[in-house]
């Protein structure tokens, strides 16, 4: 059973087709780079998997079941632009949110939950920022907080939307190192990524997407010049003509 299985997924926003007839079988323990130009539907793909939006057609199975049955086993790190940074939330409070899906309504968070949160924070080097308000952190530290929350959720699948935007090099290295370690323990990662130059170094699998699925598979075989051109297509050529 694959962690995520997508058959014939199509999504439209107000009659405009964003994703078209996508078939994908995601393999366990792999780190996937999801690559494609702006507006290619990368975030939409994540939102479809998480059922945050309505899809026009297709069947998506997560861990062999409907997403509603397995929500706590899949963690999402959204783009961090729609966060209210003045919110009275401390780093610790936010990381502990990862424990919420494991609790029933009348259950309190306990020492065990705090311990799990502490471990996630210490792996990402933010344990000493535990009692800081979220807005007092740098962009990189903020991103690590949200990854720590996903780790505290102890999910089997992680969806990360552009985790490296607006973060420093140290954070980028720390995050990728952590993702690789997690993948080594059998967790599956999907990462929306923009920087083509680091794709080969970061991801063992790629998904090249531009409304349609262009290519998918091991990076070594699929991340070829030909596939990249197909994905970015006319846009890249246009860029070349105007700049040179």
């Amino acid at each position: 059973m694959n962690p995520i299985s997508i058959k014939g997924l199509s999504v439209s926003y107000e009659r405009k087709r964003v994703l078209s007839n996508i078939f994908l079988e995601i393999k366990k323990g792999a780190i996937y780079g999801v690559v494609g130009p702006n507006g290619a539907g990368k975030s939409t793909l994540f939102k479809s998997i998480l059922q945050l939006i309505d899809i026009s057609a297709g069947v998506i199975m997560v861990l062999g079941e409907d997403i509603e049955e397995v929500r706590k086993r899949i963690a999402y790190v959204p783009q961090k632009d729609d966060v209210d940074w003045n919110f009275p939330a401390l780093v610790n409070d936010i990381v502990l949110m990862g424990r919420y899906p494991h609790k029933k309504v009348f259950q309190w968070l306990n020492k065990e939950d705090q311990h799990i949160a502490d471990e996630a924070m210490s792996e990402l080097d933010i344990l000493d920022l535990k009692n800081r308000q979220i807005g007092e952190l740098s962009g990189g530290q903020q991103q690590r907080v949200f990854l720590a929350r996903a780790m505290a959720q102890e999910a089997e699948i992680f969806l990360l939307d552009e985790p490296f935007v607006g973060v420093d090099m140290t954070t980028e290295e720390k995050i990728i190192k952590t993702l690789k370690r997690l993948a080594g323990t059998g967790k599956t990662m999907l990462v929306v990524h923009h920087d083509l130059s680091t794709v080969e170094e970061y991801f063992d699998h790629v998904i090249l997407i531009n409304q349609r699925l262009i290519a998918e598979g091991p990076t070594a075989q699929m991340f070829t010049q030909e596939n990249i051109s197909k994905t970015y297509g006319a846009k890249l050529n246009l860029l070349n003509k105007t700049t040179w």
């Binding site: 929500r71 959204p78 209210d84 919110f87 009275p88 949110m97 929350r149």
Partner: protein, 496 residues
């Protein structure tokens, strides 16, 4: 006046009013935090206005009944919440306009209805009691209802704290965790209706929004932790409800406006004096920064004078945009801080003052050099920039700039840059080709040491100099050849 107050407070109606107001203050304080954090202040106001028709309808159905009024108002509140959401989702109307349309309509119907029925004979309904609150008509029954509601609201917040927190902070994440964001929204609307309806008698519908948003906004200025914000907000609600009530008894006025004035007063105090976010703290910080910059400007000029001795205040006023009085004050301050001595119109920098001044001159000239060498500005463009930057560069940052520029000795205008790092006594460049030497164990700066480390050169490592080129220097370590940039080789200390 005190007699009047004590007299009033010992009578049943005043004690009931006090209990009711306290409960309302706490409830509104707590629920208000979520309303403010969700940017729903306008909805809070709308809901409060919109409960009036509930009273009217309840009166028609069951006559004068406290329970009837309560239930009628809650239904009207929820009806409004649903109505607003429905319009926002289904009609192409701006969100805040939708809120405005619904609540003004409800309010209008309520006012018309209540005015109409209060004309009836033997009906003790007064519209203004509902609009601005009243202390006189709170019955024991009111207290029971308000008490029950208050316990329910607080217990709900405690039990569903996690859900309220996460849906307020990041709705999407709550959704991906399988939390029904919609259900939490309507549940909060229910709690909000409860709080607003309870406040009907003591605050009145027009001003209840003040008891919702002002304590919460005050608490948000005082704490960064949601749990503390909730507690502080409840306490502020409690205090202002009681103070407002007392004021309204003393001056024989309606309690709602008095409470509102008190709560706004507390808000203003917090806005000015909050230890972290207050205007006072920010003003003081700004003033300190300005003072520091002014002192630094004086220091920098003084260090340029011969031996750091200035005989006349006009030396400073000629160069800086300061008045004589200003300069004198600054010189006094510098003397107090041990950076100089100011006596009989003569100012002399102490050693401490001299080195502090040199740091500034170094910062200024290094930054000018940076702007010319690395940014590509010309000599006319750089002075003002450096004037600003010199006050804001940490010493670590300056050392990095110094290293990046290759430890220059002169700035673009040809003035000497005070040297923090002395140049090597003997560098690789000073050696003759084919001569043997070893890397010195102490280098001029940490940055040089880390560059050596990256090149794989260790302290005390022996090497032979092969040749010195224009761009690169080649050295031989054991069997390995290494190339070093000539500009860097110039800065590497070696021993023979």
């Amino acid at each position: 006046m005190m007699d009047l107050l004590i007299d009033a407070l010992s009578s049943g109606w005043a004690i009931r009013a006090m209990i009711a107001s306290s409960l309302v203050g706490i409830m509104c304080g707590v629920i208000g935090c979520f309303i403010v954090l969700r940017n729903m202040s306008l909805i809070g106001d709308a809901l409060a206005h919109a409960i009036l028709p509930g009273i009217f309808v309840a009166f028609i159905l069951v006559g004068y009944s406290t329970i009837g009024f309560f239930l009628g108002s809650v239904v009207a509140g929820l009806f409004t919440a649903f109505g607003i959401t429905w319009i926002q989702h289904n009609v192409k109307t701006k969100n805040d306009a939708a809120i405005g349309i619904v609540f003004t309509t409800m309010f209008a119907i309520g006012v018309m209805g209540i005015s109409y029925i209060s004309q009836g004979e033997g009906v003790h309904l007064d519209l203004s009691d509902f609009l601005f609150g009243t202390t006189l008509s709170i019955s024991p029954e009111d207290i029971y209802i308000t008490g029950t509601v208050c316990i329910f609201v607080l217990a709900s917040v405690v039990v569903f704290y996690r859900y309220l927190f996460i849906t307020t902070f990041q709705e999407t994440i709550a959704q991906t965790m399988g939390i029904s964001v919609k259900m939490i929204h309507y549940f909060l609307m229910l709690l909000l209706s409860f709080a607003v309806v309870s406040a009907l008698r003591s605050v009145g519908v027009i001003l209840v929004v003040a008891m919702l948003i002002t304590p919460a906004s005050t608490a948000l200025l005082l704490s960064n932790k949601l749990k503390n914000v909730l507690i502080i907000s409840a306490i502020i609600g409690l205090i202002s409800a009681n103070l407002g009530l007392i004021i309204s008894i003393i001056f024989n006025t309606t309690p709602g406006p008095a409470m509102t004035v008190v709560v706004t007063g507390l808000y203003l105090i917090a806005a000015v004096f909050s230890p972290k976010k207050g205007l006072a703290v920010r003003y003081i910080r700004k003033q300190r920064q300005r003072l520091k910059i002014e002192q630094e400007d004086i220091l920098k000029q003084a260090v340029k004078a011969d031996d750091g001795i200035v005989l006349d205040v006009s030396y400073f006023t000629d160069k800086l945009d300061f008045s004589k009085g200003q300069v004198k004050t600054l010189l006094q301050q510098l003397s107090k801080e041990g950076l100089g001595q100011w006596k009989n119109g003569r100012f002399k920098l102490t050693d401490k003052g001299l080195s502090a001044g040199e740091v500034l001159v170094r910062a200024h000239r290094l930054w000018e050099t940076y702007l010319v060498d690395k940014v590509g500005l010309n000599e006319e463009q750089i002075h003002d920039e450096a004037e600003k930057m010199e006050h804001h560069m940490s010493s670590e940052f300056l050392d990095e700039v110094d290293h990046l520029l290759g430890y220059p000795e002169k700035d673009p205008h040809g003035s000497p840059i005070p040297q923090k790092f002395t140049r090597p006594k003997l560098s690789i460049i000073d050696l003759h080709p084919k001569s043997k030497a070893k890397i010195a164990s102490k280098q001029i700066s940490d940055a040089i040491e880390s560059e050596l480390w990256e090149l794989g050169l260790l302290p005390n490592q022996d090497f032979i100099l092969n040749e010195i080129g224009r761009d690169y220097v080649e050295i031989q370590c054991d069997s390995e050849k290494k190339e070093i940039r000539t500009s860097l080789a110039r800065l590497i200390s070696v021993e023979k």
